[in-house]
Symmetry: C2
Subunit: 351 residues, 2 copies
Amino acid sequence: MAPNRIGTSHCPITRVQDQHILLAHGGGGRLMNQLIETLIQPTFDNPIIQQRHDGAVFAIGDSRLAFTTDSYVVQPLFFPGGDIGSLAVFGTVNDLAMCAAKPLYLSTSFILEEGFKLDQFEQIVRSIREAADQAGVKIITGDTKVVESGKADGIFINTAGVGLVRYPINVGAHQIQANDLIVLSGDIGRHGVAILAAREGFSFEAPFASDSAPLNHCILDLIQQAIEIHCLRDLTRGGLATALVELSETGNVRFRIDESAIPVREEIRGACEILGFDPLYLANEGRFIAFIPSYCVEKALEIVNEHSPGRNATIIGRVISATQQGVILKTQIGTTRILDMQSGEQLPRIC
Amino acid sequence: MAPNRIGTSHCPITRVQDQHILLAHGGGGRLMNQLIETLIQPTFDNPIIQQRHDGAVFAIGDSRLAFTTDSYVVQPLFFPGGDIGSLAVFGTVNDLAMCAAKPLYLSTSFILEEGFKLDQFEQIVRSIREAADQAGVKIITGDTKVVESGKADGIFINTAGVGLVRYPINVGAHQIQANDLIVLSGDIGRHGVAILAAREGFSFEAPFASDSAPLNHCILDLIQQAIEIHCLRDLTRGGLATALVELSETGNVRFRIDESAIPVREEIRGACEILGFDPLYLANEGRFIAFIPSYCVEKALEIVNEHSPGRNATIIGRVISATQQGVILKTQIGTTRILDMQSGEQLPRIC
């Protein structure tokens, strides 16, 4: 689920009847947040949706379950490091993992455009199965719809997922505490640049591959080894910066982030300079941040580093207030600035 | 979930690389069945997806849960008797009910086309909430994506749902027994004709309203009053005929259906004659069939009749063999014919 947040809205609200959906309403930034906060969340209002997390957690009998959904509209459908099928599995698996759940079962629902090639569809279905095996989940139910040629864009996939929260752990923005350290699981920006390069046919010296990966094995390992985790968030649309701002606003907590500690590969930094992107706002599909008290952060880093999507895990900052909002970035040149959410749509259809 | 079925396939399988997706691949008939049987089901192969039902049932701790998903692409978005929002709630609620589950929680995932009117979106979101209240479920998680203008068709909605199977009941095609009576919950064809009339702007003497309705309250009442139910199926794409043929093939059972017992409103019959449709293949969104042993069928009819979508419930046929397939229709003029699934796409995008 795209997280639902409260907090100050920087955009004035104009009359709904004058407005149309913009690409930025799906971009993960300020405008999407506004749509969720002013329409979707108040209309569907209930205690569970108010949790404002990557998924919803509820109790059935003696079990706590997590439930989440995402639709995938990425273009191109196939890109270095993945395709829409593997993305649809890992994205939903990761949302369950961010609820501290062990992902168990997924649904897949296809919206196909008339004329879409059956061999491409077959390739995507097989990719879904392989990704599900890699993540350790099963696809147990599904649906197929077809719309007329010109009324969709090849294929859209929805996956919903159910997971089990086995341990007595509560993660979320409201659990973040002063002095928690902020662990980032690896270098950022690769998914966004990989999609852009594949879409626009840019050729760089080294080919960019998406970081798309399942994070559940790593998270479960942290939990099983009794690391005290206060909050988890995977970095998708809107990138690291937007995730931090959302958590700051939802949890009413303030972070200080050290930009020079954030790993960005040299070639990604170079591509961003050429293309005018800020890596802090670029999409990732295999990265997360974790809020962890300092006493167990060294052990947490060791554990995360043992998993391939966590090879470059590092501490990027600290919670400096549990009573005030704001994300303060100490830049690489030593100045400080306040981070905000992405305000427009930097790069549409990256997931 | 679109049910997954085994059984004989009447279409020759040609080489996948020469093929493209056709509208009929989403029509609920033979071609969709073939896609599920030859690609999706074998690729995702696991014991739960093999249940071949409207949803998947699995155990968590001491609880049995049902999980289902459907994407909704109906055109027009608003039609007499409902809209894409209420349809997306009732359709998924009904799939859970057909698993004998009490629907609890739904997810909603929107794919919006850039430029879609925000006030229409607001109307749909409110309709979802009202439908959820009517069905007694909560929307607890969701997602919003936006694609460029021309790459979708206004709005597509996915809902996934989780329900609780409280009672020790197993429903499914394999539970159908010889001499079971087949109860149909009401008159057929209204949703299909309502969509067609709204889409094409046909004006008939009486306006056609969809039969779209939540069926869970009625089904739960049957279960709580200890009616022995062997199988349940809601009639959606492909209509009554396709549902019967699917169940016959999956359960390896043979039915004899009395066409004159099937309720069809006079104005629907008239519209079908003018438009060349067979009501047996028209879509419904608030009708189901139940397979019930004769000793409790009278009580079952009483219960179903107490619920508004079940006002015209009646017995339409009987299981005449539990070792052979086939659906034999005794026509209104006294002849018999064998029913088959819908083979092409009678009417696209009805749900």
